[in-house]
């Protein structure tokens, strides 16, 4: 997953990029995370997830629902959070860096992450069963692309 975050952290103006679970556990981080108030990845992920989850009931009371993208621009930096499924992807920008320049890279990173996680979750091809030695017995499993009969002879 690091290779997905590295291009994000390399964008000019991006101080750090982090991937975390919605309950604030950092999965992977890139860039200068420790300079962020001296907090480190653990604390930063916790603070960001705490902020995001605290907004849900507040906005829910006004029948507003915001679960896709959040930007917090401060005098000393900007936080851009992109929420998708079961992860929070966020980047910390230097003051003055454009938030809009990060919209497409963040979306692209999320798509790549989805592809990476789909790839790792893809079912492994079933192992072929050993063919019974008895003559005339037909192989019961033919799901493998290569012929099990050839490989087990």
């Amino acid at each position: 997953m690091k290779e997905v975050l590295e291009p994000l952290a390399a964008i000019p103006g991006v101080r750090a990029a982090l991937l975390a679970t919605p309950d604030g556990v950092p999965i992977v981080s890139c860039g200068n995370v420790d300079s962020q108030g001296g907090a480190g990845a653990d604390a930063l992920a916790g603070l960001v997830s705490g902020w995001c989850s605290s907004l849900v009931p507040t906005l829910g009371a006004a029948s507003w629902e915001f679960g896709q993208r959040a930007v917090l621009r401060g005098s000393r930096g900007t936080l851009v959070v992109r929420c998708a499924g079961h992860v929070l992807l966020f980047a910390v920008l230097e003051p003055g860096a454009s938030v809009e320049d990060l919209r497409i890279p963040l979306d692209a990173a999320l798509s790549r992450l989805a592809r990476v996680s789909r790839g790792s979750r893809a079912p492994q091809p079933a192992l072929p069963r050993r063919i019974p030695q008895a003559e005339g017995a037909a192989p019961s499993d033919t799901s493998s692309a290569t012929s099990p009969r050839d490989s087990f002879r």
Binding site: P12, R69, V71, L72, R76, E94, A97
Partner: protein, 363 residues
């Protein structure tokens, strides 16, 4: 490679210059500055931005680009100084690099550098830079612990630089901003020992003597600022502005709410809120939501080291919400569009600014 890039960028630069001559709009200034930035001519880009701001004062994109160009120049300088420092660590380089870090807002780095300098026998100047970095962090994040540490480090700087006014002036600024008037009086007295008979200092001494009677202790003042996230002087300005009702804000809110995609516009100051769009209980809920978003974001930004909140932008299935907290109040707009519309930010910014320029609210 750089030469090739510059060569290829030549026609683009010429085109951008020609467009600017025919139409000197802010967008064309931005385009020319961006072309310069693309080939790493940050100084030229900053010059173009400054020229553009002379014609189109307070254009947000030009302002942003100019800040960014300045930051990039400082980053380049910091990189060069850092390399030089690795080869031959000298006092002049430590000082300049720390100043650069302070200017570009890399306060933690400035602090680390001054600590390194102290370890190498930096003396008074290193103490002074370390306390400056921590004080700047306190002004941005307003954490009690930072304030206390900044004051302790200022003590060390004063001890190391006994005839220097700078640490005392910084201490005075800090204690005045938190409203610790007794400490402010004591600091002015120390400054008067260095500059006896200074009329400005004498006037300040008299003012602080009058204020010191009901002033909180240093610890209580630091705690109060941490709890509310605002300095007492900002509170006073806010309460001054809240008096004297004016109707200037209402038409601005109404015209914004009349836009097709805008569902609700809210302006809040203290306990008073103006809401355009929803009505009755829905309006109350919208106002409460905006207030809580601003409060929670302020506190989160301080803890994350992002400083004062300038803007909160949220997007989701129900549209987008833009919240602009200012010193006097909070302006916010909810739009049904998936992204914050282009026109919304400047208009809402104008509302937030006009709120802080002294137009009061109808209660």
């Amino acid at each position: 490679m750089k030469f090739l890039e510059k060569l290829l960028a030549g026609p683009r630069l010429r085109d951008a210059r020609r467009r600017l001559v025919t139409e000197p709009s802010a967008a064309n200034y931005v385009a020319l500055a961006s072309e310069h930035a693309r080939i790493c001519e940050f100084e030229a880009a900053e010059r173009v931005c400054a020229e553009g701001l002379g014609v189109h004062a307070s254009d947000p994109e030009l302002t942003r680009l100019r800040t960014r160009m300045r930051a990039l120049q400082l980053e380049d300088r910091a990189r060069a100084l850092s390399n030089e420092l690795r080869e031959s660590p000298r006092a002049g380089l430590f000082r300049e690099l720390a100043e650069v870090y302070l200017e570009c807002g890399r306060l933690e780095r400035a602090e680390e550098l001054s600590v390194q300098w102290l370890e190498r026998g930096g003396g008074g100047e290193a103490h002074w830079l370390r306390s400056r970095a921590r004080a700047a962090r306190y002004f941005a994040d307003r954490r009690r612990e930072d304030g206390r540490t900044a004051l302790e480090w200022l003590d060390s700087a004063e001890a190391a630089l006994p005839r220097d006014e700078r640490p005392l002036r910084l201490r005075l600024e800090l204690v005045c901003r938190i409203g610790a008037w007794r400490d402010a009086r004591r600091t002015v007295a120390q400054l008067l020992e260095l500059a006896p008979g200074d009329p400005a200092l004498e006037a300040r001494f008299r003012t602080y003597t009058a204020l010191a009677e009901s002033a909180p202790t240093l610890d209580a003042a630091l705690r109060e600022v941490e709890r509310h996230g605002v300095f007492p002087e900002e509170n006073t300005a806010r309460s001054h502005m809240a008096t004297g009702p004016s109707r200037a804000l209402r038409p601005m809110l109404q015209s914004l709410a009349a836009q097709p995609t805008i569902a609700a516009v809210v302006y809040e100051r203290g306990a008073t809120a103006l809401v355009q769009g929803p009505s009755g209980a829905t309006a109350e809920r919208a106002a409460r939501a905006v207030r809580e978003v601003a409060q929670k974001s302020r506190s989160a930004a301080r803890r994350m080291g992002l400083g004062n909140v300038l803007e909160v932008e949220l997007e989701g299935p129900s549209g987008s919400l833009l919240v602009l907290p200012s010193e006097s109040g909070v302006a916010a707009a909810h739009s049904s569009a998936a992204q914050v519309p282009e026109f919304l930010r400047p208009t809402l910014g104008a509302i937030a600014r006009s709120g802080s320029e002294g137009t009061g609210l109808e209660s």
